[in-house]
Amino acid sequence: MEEKLREELIKLFESKLSKPMQMYLETCSRCGICTPACHAYASMPQAKYTPAYRAEVVRRIFKKYFKLQGKIAPALGAAKVLDENTLDELYEAAYSCTGCRRCMVYCPFGIDTQQIMSIAKLLLIGANAEPELLTMLADVSVSKGEGIEDMKESFMQGLKRLEDQVLEKWKMEAGEMEAGETPIPIDVEGADLLYVALAGAHSIIPAAAVFNAAGEKWTLSFFEAVNFGAFVGDPTKTKLILDRIVNEANRLKVKEVCICECGTAFRVMKQMSGSQPFEVSSITDVHAKYIREGKIKLDKSKLNLPVTYHDPCQIARNGGVIDAPRYVLQQLGADYRELSADPKYNWCCGGGGGLVAMGDETHDFRMKSAKVKADQVQQTEAKILATACENCHAQLSDISKHYNMDVEVKYLSSMVADALIQ
């Protein structure tokens, strides 16, 4: 590795050293209590899949360049020079970690391995060694935002085609629709709620039906919620993708920004948008609120199979939305079974951190590392596996195929839309 590149990478490293990060890097006592916490290790017991080992890959570089110990006596802490070899190790560590933060619950100090892996991801970007695909997706996403004016036309056209399908789920009487109102309103200034969806029909149609049923004054965002910048760990792109939604919300003067079923999008929006004049909520929260306030009524007789719910890590353990999905499922009349007695110990689906978006490339690892997840689901004997995250949904569907599981993976929001009583 050239000296110049190395210096740049060390600067990147330094840019990540916030107070908590510095403490995370200084503290680990390598006690190994976190070892059984990681689904990758639990499914494939190899040292490289333990949280502390992963973190140590980054920590060794930290010791080498930022700590006196590593400078005086590098052997003591096994400090490591940053070179091609180390980059490979960083890649392996970072892209076998889904950032679920289950290990953080185990650690006596609460060390956040996801944060430490974000250094690894940034270094990989700096060295041009990150997964190309994720950068491509992040770039496309950024570019879509920049070219929004040119694309508005085709975006609206695409939406028009979905309207019938929305109406199929929830008929809007002509009288109910005020002038200019459509089944999928967009760009409405003064709406109460801005819904940020994914660029796909499954994320828009059911949500629209429920909003309309609840009589919500809502408007659909031009932008997609998912933040590929966060997956690849690029702070600049993460911020770009986040900021344009924030700007749109402020331009339309909405009171609430509701994020679709996407874990990363929700956590980034909720925790990184700073203090804003609007609230950030997950679509599950919003649905629970509608039911509680009697704004929508659900048919309780539709679900006659046992149901379980997978808490998406970024929404539950890391985002705090835990009671709402349980309430919704209860209101759907579900024969509900918990995956894990305490939701903060739920196993990760194994698809986070950009692994699902990387598709076939990671398929083998995703399936092997999700063994414990598959077992956990099967133990409940549930036939319907609900979840509230696109990533988890894709991964869980892959798992159920791979392990021949007899479950149907469903979006919670679709289940609500399907049970609407006119």
Binding site: L137, V140, M151, G158, R161, L162, A199
Partner: protein, 80 residues
């Protein structure tokens, strides 16, 4: 479907949710030579914005977009 455009590879992306269509196409385009054309068919409305954005960042060119009742058809020329 198209008289004037000579298609070298057809990619069926029907039923795939976003962003899988552009993921597949970004891989698939490496299988054709510069100057050749891919016809990509998707059903997800998100593709309408995804494809132009992808083309711009990757430096490829979308020759034409067609919409039928159910499908979106993109003609993409590899230029990079």
């Amino acid at each position: 479907m198209s008289d004037e455009i000579n298609v070298d590879k057809v990619m069926d992306l029907k039923g795939m949710p976003c962003p899988m269509p552009i993921v597949k196409v970004s891989k698939g385009i490496k299988d054709v030579e510069v100057g050749q054309v891919i016809q990509a068919i998707s059903t997800d409305p998100g593709s309408l914005t995804d494809f132009p954005a992808w083309a711009r960042t990757s430096g490829n060119e979308i020759l034409k977009t067609e919409q039928t009742e159910e499908e979106f058809v993109f003609y993409i020329k590899r230029t990079a």
